[in-house]
C-alpha cells in the first residue's frame, strides 16, 4: 500500500463532465442569441427612431397647417375685409345714445338699504340690481322720457 495513493474520483457516479463539443455548441448558441437580441434591439431602436421622425414630420406639418389656418383666419378677419362685409350687409357706424339722468341709476352700494332678513352684502347687491332693472325698464318703455333724457348728436 505504501507509495501508492488510492484513486479518488471527483465526479459522482452518473454525472457527466460537459465535453468540449458541448461547450462549443453552448457558446455558439449564446453567441447567436446575443446576435439575435442585438438585432432585435437595433431593429427596435431603428423603428422607434423612424417613428419619431415620422411623428416629428407630422407634428411639423400640423404646426404648419395651424399657421396656415391662423393666417387664413387673420385675413378673413382683417379690418378691410370686415368693414367691406359690414358695408355689403348694410351696417353703418352708429353713434352711441347717451342718457342724461337726473339721479344715478343705482345708489352707491354702501347706501343701499338692506331688505329685512337678508345679509347686508347680498341684499344690497340684489337690491341695486332690482332698482337698476326697474329704472331701465321705465326708461326703455318711455315712462321716464322727458327732460331727463337727451341723446348725443
Amino acid at each position: 500500500m505504501k507509495g501508492k495513493l488510492p484513486r479518488v474520483s471527483l465526479s459522482s457516479k452518473g454525472s457527466r463532465t460537459p465535453s468540449t463539443q458541448a461547450l462549443i455548441v453552448i457558446f455558439i448558441s449564446l453567441f447567436i442569441l446575443f446576435l439575435w437580441l442585438n438585432f432585435v434591439l437595433t431593429q427596435q431602436v431603428e423603428m422607434i427612431g423612424r417613428d419619431i421622425q415620422v411623428k416629428s414630420e407630422e407634428l411639423q406639418s400640423l404646426q404648419r397647417q395651424g399657421d396656415d389656418y391662423r393666417q387664413a383666419i387673420s385675413v378673413k378677419g382683417s379690418q378691410w375685409n370686415m368693414s367691406e362685409k359690414a358695408r355689403l350687409l348694410g351696417y353703418q357706424p352708429q353713434a352711441p345714445v347717451f342718457l342724461r339722468m337726473s339721479e344715478p341709476l343705482a345708489e352707491p352700494v354702501s347706501e343701499a338699504p338692506a331688505p329685512a332678513g337678508q345679509s347686508s352684502a347680498l341684499a344690497s347687491s340684489e337690491g341695486i340690481q332690482a332698482q337698476t332693472a326697474s329704472r331701465l325698464r321705465l326708461l326703455l318703455t318711455g315712462r321716464l322720457l322727458g327732460p331727463e333724457i337727451e341723446t348725443a348728436p
Binding site: 419619431i52 391662423r70 379690418q79 357706424p93 353713434a95 352711441p96
Partner: protein, 576 residues
C-alpha cells in the same frame, strides 16, 4: 546532408521573403500607429463630419397683435419647389402631377426635367396646401424647401407701425425693427447621424437643443382707431388734393400710441416692390417746420415762466423786428391792442415773437428742451429722428431765430415730437414717453407657461405746471371756439391749434406750397385722446384751418362714438 546550389537560392529567397514580410508588417504597423495615434483626432473629426449633420432649428418669431388681440404679424411657412434634373424619376407622370399641383404648364416642368442644370427652380413661395401636396408625392429629384415667411394680415393699414422683416429674418422699421432681437427668439440645434447619401438616419439625435420662440408683442395701437384714422386721412388727401399726410393719435395721459397712419404707405407683404423711401415711418423720421401749432409751446413757456398771462396785452402793428429781421403776421395786417388769448386765437406771429423776446433766449430754449424738442422721444419705433433745433451759441443760430422759432419757423420737428409736446399740456403739464408696445408675452419652451410683462406709462419730466397747462387748455378751447371752427364737434369742448407752415427750399420758402396741420385734444377737461393731423402740400386750400381742422373733426367725431365718450353736458353731470 549536403545542400546543393538550389537549396542556397531557396534559403536566400526565404530570407528575402521574411525580410519583405517584416518590412511590410513594419510599414503596416507604422501606418496603424500613425493613423491610430498621431492622426486619431483628425480622423475622428473627419468621421464626425461625414457621419453627423448639425441642423439648425429655426425659432418662431413672436406674433404682433393690436391692443384687442387682433393679429397684425405672424410667422407662416411658404414653399420653394425645385428639381434636380439628373435625379428626377418619373418623367411624364411626375410632370403632369407637378403641373396640376403647381398650376404651371406641363411643358415648363418637362423643360426643367430636361435641363442640364444641376438644380432648377419650379415655383417660389407657394402656400401650405400646395407645398404639402408636392411633399406627399415623395418624388425623387423634387425638392420642397420650407421658407419662413412673415405675414401681415392687415396689409398697408399698419405698415409703418409694425415694420417689415426681410428675407433673412431681420426686422426693420416700426416695432419689427425696434424689438427685432426680442421677437426673433433663440435658434435651436440638432445633431443627427446621416447615411451615405446624405439622408438623416432614423436614429435618435446625438444632441438636441430646442429653439426658444420669440416674444410676442401686444401693441397699444387699436386696429379700429387706426382704421378710422386711415380712412379719414385717405379722404382728406383726396378732398384737399394733398401729396401725403400723417395722422397720429395718442392717449395723452399715458403716452400710448392709439393710431399712427401715414400716406402714401406700402404693403409689408410685398415690401420688395415698394419705394424704399416709403418704408421708414414718417411720424418718427420725417421732420418739418411745424408753423403755428408750435405757438402752443411758446405760449406754454411764457405762461409758465410768468412772462405773460392770458390777459396780457400787446399792440399789434402787423410787423415786429427781431434780430434784424421783420416778422409779419400771416395776413400782413396789424390788429391793434390784443390780449395773449387773442394772439393765439388769431395766430399772430408778432405776438409770438413779442412773447419769445420778452422771455429771453435762455428761458425760451430751456422750455423747448423741456418739451423734448431737438432730442429723441425714445418711442419704441425704429428709425426715429431727433428733429433739428439750433441753440444760441451754435454757429448757425442767429438772434432772429428767437423770433421765427416762436411761431415754428427755423425749427424742425417730427410729428411724434410735436404731439408728445402738446400731450404734456393735455396731461396737466407732465411729459410722457410715447410707446407702442403694451405687453410682451414670452412662452417657456419646456413648460409652455406664459410670462407677461406689461409696459407701464413713463413720466419723462414736468414740462410746465398744472396751472399753466389748465390755463393754456382754456385758451386752446377758445382757439377752436373762435378761430378753428371747422374743428368743432358739437357737444364737446375741444382744445386745439391750427398750423400752416411754409415749405423751405434751397432758395428760401416756397411761394405756394404749405404743410397744413392741426393738433387737438378732447374732451378738454379730461383728455382721452390727442390727434395730430398733418397734410403735405394741399392744393384745395393751403390753410390748416380749412384742411387739417375738418379732418381732425371727422376723426374726433368717430372717436367720441367708438370710445363711447359722452358729450360734456352728460359726462360732467355724471361726476360726483
Amino acid at each position: 546532408m549536403v545542400f546543393g546550389k538550389g537549396s542556397t537560392i531557396y534559403s536566400r529567397r526565404l530570407t528575402l521573403l521574411v525580410v519583405c514580410l517584416v518590412v511590410a508588417v513594419t510599414v503596416i504597423a507604422g501606418r496603424l500607429v500613425y493613423y491610430q495615434i498621431f492622426m486619431h483626432d483628425d480622423l475622428e473629426e473627419w468621421y464626425h463630419e461625414q457621419r453627423t449633420w448639425e441642423k439648425t432649428i429655426p425659432a418662431e418669431r413672436g406674433d404682433i397683435t393690436d391692443v384687442n388681440g387682433h393679429l397684425l404679424a405672424l410667422d407662416t411657412i411658404q414653399w420653394d419647389v425645385s428639381v434636380s434634373p439628373p435625379l428626377v424619376i418619373g418623367g411624364k407622370d411626375l410632370a403632369r402631377n407637378l403641373s396640376d399641383i403647381l398650376s404651371i404648364p406641363q411643358t415648363t416642368v418637362l423643360t426643367a426635367f430636361d435641363s442640364d442644370a444641376p438644380w432648377y427652380p419650379l415655383a417660389k413661395g407657394v402656400g401650405f396646401e400646395v407645398g404639402e401636396s408636392v411633399r406627399a408625392l415623395d418624388a425623387g429629384g423634387v425638392t420642397c424647401d420650407p421658407i419662413p415667411h412673415r405675414y401681415y394680415p392687415e396689409g398697408s393699414l399698419l405698415a409703418h407701425v409694425v415694420g417689415i422683416v426681410n428675407t433673412t429674418g431681420v426686422g426693420f422699421y416700426g416695432v419689427e425693427g425696434y424689438y427685432d432681437q426680442t421677437l426673433r427668439g433663440i435658434e435651436g440645434h440638432k445633431t443627427v447621424e446621416q447615411g451615405p447619401n446624405g439622408n438623416e438616419l432614423p436614429l435618435l439625435p446625438i444632441e438636441e437643443i430646442l429653439s426658444e420662440p420669440g416674444t410676442s408683442l401686444v401693441l397699444t395701437v387699436d386696429r379700429n382707431i387706426q382704421f378710422i384714422a386711415a380712412q379719414e386721412l385717405g379722404k382728406a388727401l383726396e378732398e384737399y388734393k394733398a401729396e401725403s399726410g400723417t395722422v397720429l393719435i395718442l392717449d395723452p395721459q399715458t403716452g400710448a400710441i392709439l393710431a399712427n397712419v401715414s400716406y402714401p404707405s406700402f404693403d409689408p407683404n410685398d415690401f420688395v416692390h415698394a419705394d424704399p423711401e416709403l418704408l421708414a415711418d414718417p411720424a418718427v423720421s420725417d421732420m418739418w417746420e411745424p408753423g403755428s401749432i408750435f405757438k402752443i409751446i411758446t405760449w406754454a413757456a411764457a405762461l409758465d415762466s410768468g412772462t405773460i398771462s392770458p390777459g396780457t396785452t400787446f399792440y399789434d402793428e402787423g410787423a415786429l423786428e427781431v434780430g434784424g429781421r421783420i416778422i409779419r403776421n400771416w395776413n400782413r395786417l396789424g390788429n391793434g391792442l390784443v390780449t395773449m388769448t387773442d394772439g393765439l386765437v388769431m395766430s399772430l406771429n408778432t405776438v409770438a415773437a413779442f412773447i419769445s423776446t420778452s422771455m429771453g433766449k435762455e428761458t425760451f430754449y430751456t422750455y423747448l428742451r423741456r418739451f423734448g424738442f431737438g432730442i429723441l422721444t425714445d418711442v419704441d419705433l425704429q428709425s426715429e429722428g431727433p428733429g433739428m433745433m439750433k441753440l444760441p451759441g451754435d454757429s448757425t443760430w442767429f438772434p432772429s431765430e428767437l423770433g421765427t422759432n416762436s411761431f415754428g419757423q427755423g425749427i424742425a420737428v417730427t410729428p411724434m415730437q410735436m404731439i408728445v409736446a402738446v400731450s404734456a399740456v393735455a396731461n396737466y403739464g407732465t411729459l410722457m414717453k410715447p410707446y407702442a408696445v403694451h405687453e410682451l408675452i414670452s412662452t417657456d419652451p419646456e413648460t409652455g407657461e406664459e410670462h407677461v410683462v406689461q409696459v407701464q406709462p413713463m413720466v419723462v419730466r414736468r414740462a410746465v405746471s398744472q396751472e399753466t397747462a389748465q390755463t393754456l387748455t382754456d385758451m386752446l378751447v377758445e382757439v377752436v371756439d373762435r378761430g378753428a371752427t371747422l374743428a368743432q364737434v358739437p357737444g364737446y369742448r375741444i382744445a386745439g391749434k391750427t398750423g400752416t407752415a411754409q415749405v423751405p427750399t434751397a432758395y428760401g420758402y416756397h411761394e405756394t406750397d404749405t404743410i397744413a396741420s392741426f393738433v387737438g385734444f378732447a374732451p378738454a377737461d379730461d383728455p382721452q385722446f390727442i390727434v395730430l393731423v398733418k397734410l403735405d402740400k394741399p392744393r384745395a386750400s393751403p390753410w390748416g384751418s380749412q384742411t387739417a381742422a375738418p379732418t381732425f373733426r371727422a376723426i374726433a367725431e368717430r372717436l367720441f362714438a367708438y370710445m363711447q365718450i359722452p358729450p360734456d353736458e352728460i359726462r360732467v353731470a355724471e361726476r360726483p
